[in-house]
């Protein structure tokens, strides 16, 4: 091999970079997010499956509907529990803790919704 003094360090750097996730998290399994169960009701506004994948789309349609089209703020779950179609007064009414619910997943998946720039978070009890 020619130019060992440049090529071998180059390869080491390359392998170091692409294996970053392996040595960065070596030996730690990470923690699984366990969002706190809501005690206010038995079910969410949509199926859990849908909520897990698409709650941000739901929030977005609520927002557009209410703020721009003057839609109703009233909603009912499948079993007839009434709720307010609102981030602060709806979601956070049943899911009373942002930290123990929303953030549990969001920190894990590294998402930082900017909603809380304006919307108030519920007071965390502890």
């Amino acid at each position: 091999m020619y130019d060992n003094n440049k090529i071998i360090p180059g390869l080491i750097v390359f392998v170091g970079l692409i294996t970053f996730p392996i040595w960065y998290g070596f030996g730690s399994a990470g923690h699984l997010p366990i969002p706190e169960k809501s005690t206010k009701s038995k079910e969410c506004v949509e199926s859990v499956e849908y909520m897990r994948t698409s709650h941000m789309v739901l929030l977005n349609t609520w927002r557009d509907g209410i703020v721009r089209m003057g839609e109703t703020r009233h909603g009912e779950t499948a079993d007839g529990t009434p709720y307010v179609r609102s981030l602060q007064k709806g979601c956070m009414n049943c899911h009373t803790s942002k930290k123990k619910f929303c953030d549990e997943c969001h920190t894990y998946a590294s998402v930082k919704p900017y909603c809380w720039d304006c919307h108030l978070q519920p007071k965390e009890t502890n």
Binding site: F20, V57, S110
Partner: protein
């Protein structure tokens, strides 16, 4: 035909992953075994390719001289396009790797009535190439959120910057748009320009389709079909920490996505995509144009062969040269005066 063949292969691969992940054992195969295997092939193949290149001697200085070489003191040297020092080479390589300078110099030739040949600058390939590569880099780095826990700050910063426009929910990443747009351009370029189409092979179309399909499935997953990111991170983070968990409800499109990525990784070292490593080892870029200052010895020279100067060459063959009427530096020594005595011997 070359286009359809490449497209067909990618579509079949997608179908294989979609159906394969639906049978029992499929998720483990497509979600764990193939990605690991592909990563090993990628790393191993990459290293062996580079080592193979490193074993090939480069006996001559062959930098492309794109500007005035180092010459007399009053002639201005183009230090970046015809470097004669290591610093110059480093500058040239940095510009090549980070700014694709040689694509920037791309020209286009056109024949106008006359006939008149006209050269113009053509920056589209450079522009879209740059957009493509940088958005690809951003996307790869952003994906590290799925392989690390806690997610490092630079990944979070990049996510924030990329979603800066705050369009929709989940927020739109600009890099996604730029990426798909640039791949589309790079493909259209091969199809629309007759000269480029003529030289395009399946090896050119296949990676484009593959990369487009990876981007498209990713965009579908994020903005349209939507998937359970938390369950997926359990799997992908497990891939990096060697304890993958297949839990929850991971939809088929994810396996299509990750299978295409596995194919890309496994295909990478054996394809033109190896220019990732090749750009660093390209002797037309990484050598200084200093042949007139430094003696470069051909590494495969046989040391037992001694230099043979012209003077000694002439000594060896002077008689024959004179006989053939070739000019010589040194005349033959005058023969003994027996010239007109043929009876000698």
């Amino acid at each position: 035909m070359r286009i359809l063949k490449s497209l067909g292969i990618v579509l079949v691969l997608m179908l294989v992953a979609y159906l394969g992940a639906a049978v029992p054992g499929g998720p483990a195969l497509f979600g764990v075994v193939f990605p690991w295997l592909a990563f090993l092939i990628f790393v191993g193949g990459f290293i062996s390719k580079v080592v193979g290149w490193a074993k090939s001697p480069v006996p001559f200085r062959i930098p492309t001289t794109c500007g005035q070489a180092n010459s007399l003191p009053w002639i201005k040297q183009n230090k970046l396009d015809c470097p004669s020092t290591t610093m110059g080479v480093i500058g040239r390589m940095l510009l090549e790797i980070f700014a694709f300078r040689s694509l920037f110099r791309n020209t286009r030739a056109e024949i106008h009535d006359g006939p008149k040949l006209v050269y113009g600058s053509s920056k589209y390939l450079w522009l879209f190439g740059l957009m493509f590569h940088y958005s690809f880099l951003v996307i790869v780095v952003r994906h590290m959120r799925l392989f690390t826990d806690p997610v490092p700050f630079f990944v979070q910063a990049l996510e924030f910057g990329d979603g800066f426009l705050q369009v929709g929910a989940p927020v739109l990443y600009q890099s996604d748009l730029i990426f798909l747009g640039a791949v589309t351009f790079l493909f259209a370029r091969r199809v629309v320009l007759p000269a480029i189409r003529y030289i395009s092979l399946p090896a050119d179309y296949f990676p484009l389709f593959l990369i487009f399909a990876i981007g498209a499935t990713g965009v579908l997953m994020r903005y349209f079909l939507r998937v359970d990111v938390v369950s997926i991170k359990q799997l992908t983070h497990g891939l990096a920490t060697f304890q993958p968990v297949l839990s929850g409800n991971i939809s088929g499109i994810f396996f299509v996505h990750i299978f295409l990525v596995s194919i890309l990784m496994a295909y990478f070292p054996f394809s033109k995509l190896m220019h990732l490593g090749g750009v660093f080892l390209s002797p037309t870029r990484n050598l200084a144009n200093n042949s007139r200052m430094v003696r470069h010895i051909n590494p495969w020279n046989d040391p037992s062969i001694k230099p043979h100067s012209y003077a000694s060459y002439e000594d060896d063959f002077r008689e024959f040269m004179v006989e053939a009427g070739l000019p010589v530096d040194k005349e033959l020594p005058p023969k003994p005066a027996a010239e007109d005595a043929p009876a000698e011997s």
